[in-house]
Symmetry: C2
Subunit: 404 residues, 2 copies
């Protein structure tokens, strides 16, 4: 996405995650913030005075601070949009209009601009006015109802799938529109209008397909597979491991890996459906057998026999694993104060990219305004909010403003 | 993506989901299957003899059946690839080479082809040979360790986030490469090499950011918010509802909506941190208060006061809701036998698109071979596997082959 300029009017999670991905592919992402800044800047915990929540998904962007309530601020935004390829925003429907950025305004400012919006429920319809958080769309969509312990309560998915799915679909929509515009010369580009709710449905296509076409109501299943076993976590002498087999063809090989050839011919376990019927008995046997050795021992046996398996890692064990090192899961990012912070690398990061820390509020205001042709006193007037204001503001706030 | 031809050598979930999205944006997706077909075709449950699992994510594609072990089948595949823009595959690393589709082969066959691969752990590295299912990457990545009941066991996320995140990132990577190729005239396109594992890390960027930069090890939290309350499900006289507020600024408005202005000035609840400290007391009070009326009553009050809220829907309630109807969550798809099935509509579906049912195995073999310039006896020899063979095969199999 080198050479693509993205004007980023987003805050908190879904929008910034989308523009983080665009930046990781080389786009010039300009984050436009009001003097208060993206509210995620005040989300705890902090490291070196920077919100970790904010820093993770705002890397490799530039920040311009504009008072978007003022006429001058709006004009500067419009000047910026005139040079841009993409506008992304995740404000409530209608708010954009108050910035002089209605669909009609934008067509006038920059007829070739790709416009993308992320909201809880889309730009139109009976819910468009409603505020939404991740947990709201997880609850409304049914997502919570298929997650959690077997037979237990509907449980929020432990990361913000409501926001992140929307971010991924928006990224797809934006690049698709750019392709239409620049490779196919499409005359008129419909805006990308992403609803967090609709993205949840898309993640649950299988659950809804089974309901509509087979009458099955999916429910929380814990870590079990609906129709295969072994296919879940098991205890060992130390840590839990997951073992998963594709069906009867893998069963004898698994028994060999476990040193239990007797089980391969046990009539309770030979056929897939019998094994499923006798899952509790099987799990008791497997559990006591696996407890005789360490997870390391069993994993090396299972790997040797090409049985899909893994330790059930937690954040700490994975973060410190050779695996994370080898696969370059994380990037070192040098902050403005010279310290090094560590964040997840996007799986679609440009080869060899050196990541830049998330910008301070308005860090690039002057630079960007100069690029736009503003000079001297105009720049001074427009970039009223300095870095020190920002830090001062931040240090007073220690409580989250609804990140999840 | 109209005018883009995608050769789809994928099976089961991650790859087909990616090409489902490409097809929903108008790409011509040609699913190439061996005579046995995508193994997902045999995944239960079935409706009208079609695997629902398969049907959901293979809509709007064409199927060509080729014996890829034969010289002729490989030649036909290569002829097809010569006409294509994109190849997507999710075979284990190296398998592609045996089809005469190594990186070098593909450069010779079609130097402008965008190549994308999805595997558990990427094309290179110490794990590249390992088989993976969704639950394996969920366990290995730490995803399970941040999902589940508060204080409870690591729990698999209730939908296949391991596969679906990979599908979304692959889709992004593919369109980005097409953009580079067709809009930026990039001379050499690196393959899109997506690892399911790396996509899980990307979904968990916040958990890893908090570990590395603040020493916090995220764990299953149930449906609670780590630092805000109310921000979880609550009981009512009938169904649970989720209420979420952004902080102290919303608290008095929530108390008003609930008809409990006394709570707005209760010193245990006024400040965010006090409310968090007294969460159990607060939940007891809220619980008994909310149980006095139905979910419908409370939701209408909360919505009136602009408090983010929702019923905790399940698959059935959502499927039959006015909401789903209004937002066109689902598409009716007419099958080859004339019956109508219902599936989730992709959130990035082309406006006005009429969805086509997933193809039978080899349904378009002749049509596609003819397009490629094959004639008469060649076509007959190549399209050996007829529809009836496929149905016959399928009806004998009733057990899953590891879909999740």
């Amino acid at each position: 996405m080198k050479g693509i300029r993205v004007v980023d009017l987003t805050s908190v999670l879904s929008g910034p995650y989308c523009t983080w991905l665009l930046a990781s592919m080389g786009a010039d992402v300009i984050k436009v913030e009001n003097p208060n800044g993206d509210s995620a800047r005040t989300t705890s915990p902090f490291c070196d005075d920077i919100s970790i929540y904010f820093a993770s998904i705002n890397r490799n962007k530039r920040s311009i601070c504009l008072d978007l309530k003022s006429k001058e601020g709006k004009s500067a935004l419009h000047a910026l949009l005139a040079t841009a390829d993409v506008l992304v925003e995740n404000m409530r429907p209608g708010v954009r209009n108050r910035l002089g950025c209605s669909d009609e305004d934008l067509k006038r400012i920059n007829p070739k601009l790709v416009r993308a919006s992320i909201t809880g429920f889309g730009q139109e319809g009976s819910l468009s006015d409603r505020p939404a958080y991740d947990i709201i769309v997880q609850a409304m969509s049914g997502m919570m109802s298929i997650n959690g312990s077997a037979g237990g309560a509907a449980t929020r998915v432990g990361f913000s799938i409501g926001d992140i799915a929307a971010a991924l679909f928006t990224t797809i929509g934006i690049i698709e529109r750019l392709y239409s515009r620049d490779a196919q010369n499409a005359p008129d580009l419909a805006p990308v209008d992403i609803s967090m709710l609709a993205c949840q449905w898309a993640c649950m296509e299988n659950a809804y397909a089974r309901y509509f076409n087979a009458g099955i109501i999916a429910e929380p299943l814990g870590s079990r597979h609906p129709s295969l076993t072994p296919f879940e976590p098991y205890p060992t002498a130390d840590y839990d491991i997951v073992i998963g087999i594709g069906g009867a063809k893998d069963w004898p090989r698994l028994c060999e890996a476990l040193g239990r050839p007797d089980m391969a011919i046990d009539p309770r376990f030979v056929e897939d459906d019998e094994r499923l019927k006798n899952r509790d008995i099987l799990n008791d046997i497997l559990g006591s057998h696996l407890r005789t050795h360490s997870s390391e021992y069993w994993l090396s046996r299972l790997i040797e026999f090409q049985i899909p398996c893994s330790a059930v890692n937690n954040i700490e064990t994975l973060a410190n694993s050779d695996l994370a090192q080898e696969y370059r899961a994380f990037s070192d990012v040098v902050t403005n104060t010279g310290s090094i912070q560590k964040y997840v690398r996007s799986p679609i990061t440009l080869e060899g990219m050196i990541e830049k820390a998330a910008p301070e509020l308005g860090e690039h205001s002057e630079e960007i305004l100069r690029e736009l042709g503003f000079t001297g006193s105009d720049i001074k007037a427009l970039s009223g909010t300095s870095k020190s204001n920002n830090n001062h503001e931040k240090s007073k706030i220690t409580i989250n403003t609804a990140p999840a």
